[in-house]
Amino acid sequence: MDIKLDLLRQNRHDMARLWKKETGGKVVGVFCCNVPEELIYAAGMLPVRLMGEKEEASEADLHFPSNCCPYVKRSFDQGLKHRYDYLDGIIVPNTCDMVRAMYGTWKMNLDIPFAYFLEVPQRISPRGIEFFRERILDFKGGLEEWSGCEITAKAIEDAIETYNLNRRLLQSAGRFRQDGLLSGVECQNMVISSMFMPKDEHNRLMGAFLEEAARRDTPPLGVRLLISASMLDNSDFIRLLEECGGSVVADDMPAGSRYFFYSVNHSSDPFFALAERYLVQVPCPRKMLPRDRFEFIKQVMEETGAEGAVIHNLKACDCHLYEYPYLKKMLQDLGLPVLFFRGEETEAEQETQRDDIEAFIEMIRG
């Protein structure tokens, strides 16, 4: 099953093309965890999280300097290499410097019919939620104008329900991971595949997958690890941790629990509910005063009984790199040993990381 999940990521472009052919719908690329994808889904479109490949970013290198976020650069590289030619639109939220730069860069260099910049307040306040609600409404209007179709209240309600179900299923996967019924790699692959598949289809896949996993014998867990990362858009690093004797039982990552941890509340005002979920609840370092964020990590850590923490920050990711000294101290104060990597997520780099991880896990085993 794991292999199949891996293949889904590998075949994501073909799958999106096929979906487009079969449905005649539009495919929309999305950055970050701050875009209420429900509205895209409700418009009958397919939202796909933009991702990169671990190959030379030979095209993007001509447009971006060397010291910048490799995740975003590689995603753009895929665009320049025509692998995202099926995209009809992209949504760029106001999150970090690098993602913001994508708005102009994609518009300038790629033929994208629809590029929408979604304002996301950086400060959480009652007015900020209200403002974000208004921006979400504007986003809905933008999608409607572009597609020429109304997004009905019923479609939004259904989309929220489908997305919430997906979140619940991913949360179950998270619990399975904690109990050893699923590996960290499998869990990560589920989150990643959810980011580019139609949610109803993913829900069906997950349902079957979890049913099968529930019948598994619980294998002995390795050293229980919490991983905190800026962006891991594939499961290779988690695989490495698990190959070295770790079991990733908890995470604090955008392509992880940040994607599914909180559901959208049932409300008579779905736009307010979406604003609240995406702005207030998603524990992202870009827009939260760190203390609240650390409370979230502390809670996850305690619930899962993690024995060690691994922090993986992509280079030049200011949001996470500034946080690192404090996060490390906080985790250590809670009695958790911490291993830190800052890098680019290349194959070569992984080999150099292996020794450090093995030593770290040995040290915890004592």
Binding site: P65, Y103, G104, K107, M108, Q122, D318
Partner: protein, 412 residues
């Protein structure tokens, strides 16, 4: 302390800045009136702080002071030892070194910074500021206010929701300051401060316009110094007087055809932030008849908007929502620089790749592509604006020499 490598100043008025700067730091250190001290980031409307009688200390500037006094290596090292990656802004590493470096940090210039009562950062410039102010908050355990505003990649569009949100955040800011100072905002004082700072800003715009003259009356070496009062003393009469005097001097030089170099052979644009620890590099071209006639950081080409509302906060909300070209998206920022090249009759561009300043750095390769496309000679030099350890004199001068040679051939 290592010796300073400051730019050669060509204008008399520029020479007034160091004294203003010293006075600014000395006053905040010596004040005994119970005035509150706020450490803030560039871009915070200091007129509001002034209206409350708050002493604003702009910490980015302190980082440039440390760099220009050739102390960046020691401070950055101390910041990195405290856990901050070399990837993060050089200014931030200097300040983290200053705050957390203990005895390992160099001796602080001007006797250090006055102790802060609270912190204020704006959210709309770069991620770095948010990160380092959050760190300062945890370290100093004092209140932090995040002044938020929409990013507006289109550069501003008078969108009603944006205006309402901007105003709400300014009002929250006022409430925060009222709590910190236990006083009420004096709106008349704020109105007067805003009007004065717009006047000074307009004089600055006029000076930028005047710098189109050939020969160039003022080089980037002077320009990077004279932005100081406008950034850190906005809304004061002293600032206004400073720019009036500068304008008169620039005008005098234009009328009398006094250029930066006796015989101007080529004109350059400096794109990005300068290397504060070696500002003399800006004069390097002068021996060859070249002048860095203009720079795109801090550039302004448009006059302030006339007041949009009698209420100063609402007025600020509307005007700041109309246009902020340098915070705009890539296309706008590229166009701005291409316009500068044309308007200032630029022969070549120096692209300073400052790897730890995402805001400027991310623009440069795309700018290089655009310049190449238009056949405008350019050279890139990759050096941090503040971390001196990234600077290699030999390598940079070799690149610049080849570039100068190209300029001279083209000008023949």
């Amino acid at each position: 302390m290592a010796e300073s490598t400051s730019a050669k100043k060509h204008l008399e008025t520029t020479l007034l800045v160091p004294a203003l700067r010293r006075k600014y730091y000395a006053e905040s250190l010596s004040q005994t009136t119970g005035q509150k001290i706020c450490w803030c980031s560039n871009g915070i409307p200091s007129e509001i702080l002034d209206a409350f009688g708050i002493n604003a200390v702009f910490v980015e500037n302190y980082a440039t002071v440390c760099a220009s006094k050739r102390l960046s290596s020691g401070f950055c090292r101390a910041g990195e030892r405290a856990g901050f990656s070399q990837d993060v802004c050089g200014y931030a590493r200097i300040l983290m070194g200053y705050l957390l470096g203990g005895t390992e940090a160099p001796e602080a210039p001007y006797g250090g910074l006055a102790k802060a009562d609270f912190l204020v950062v704006n959210s709309y410039s770069c991620d770095s500021r948010m990160g380092w102010f959050a760190t300062m908050q945890r370290t100093l355990n004092i209140p932090l206010y995040v002044l938020d505003a929409p990013y507006q990649p289109g550069g501003g569009c008078m969108d009603e929701a944006n205006i309402v949100y901007t105003e709400s955040q300014l009002l929250d800011f006022v409430t925060f300051l009222e709590g910190q100072t236990r006083s009420k905002l004096d709106r008349e004082k704020l109105r007067a401060g805003i009007d004065l700072s717009r006047r000074s800003a307009d004089i600055q715009t006029e000076i930028y316009e005047m710098r189109k003259a050939v020969p160039s009356p003022m080089s980037a070496g002077d320009a990077y110094t004279v932005v100081w009062p406008g950034m850190y003393m906005a809304g004061t009469k002293e600032c206004d007087d400073f720019y009036a005097r500068l304008r008169a001097e620039v005008n005098h030089r234009i009328v009398n055809k006094i250029g930066v170099v006796p015989e101007e052979k080529f004109r350059l644009l400096w794109s990005g932030l300068p290397f504060w620890y070696n500002m003399a590099l800006l004069n390097y071209f002068e021996d060859f008849g070249g002048v860095v006639a203009i720079e795109n950081a801090y550039f302004r080409s448009e006059k302030s908007f006339p007041p949009q509302h009698h209420d100063p906060i609402k007025d600020m909300a509307i005007t700041s929502t109309i246009k902020r070209p340098y915070a705009g998206d890539l296309e706008q920022r590229l166009q701005l620089t291409l316009d500068i090249v044309k308007d200032y009759r630029i022969d070549g561009v120096i692209l300073a790749y400052n790897p730890s300043c995402r805001l400027m750095y991310l623009l440069q390769p795309e700018l290089k592509n655009a310049l190449d496309c238009h056949g405008i000679p350019n050279v890139n030099i990759e050096c941090d604006m503040a971390d001196e350890r990234t600077y290699s004199e030999g390598q940079i001068k070799t690149r610049l020499d080849a570039f100068i040679e190209r300029m001279l051939v083209l000008r023949k």
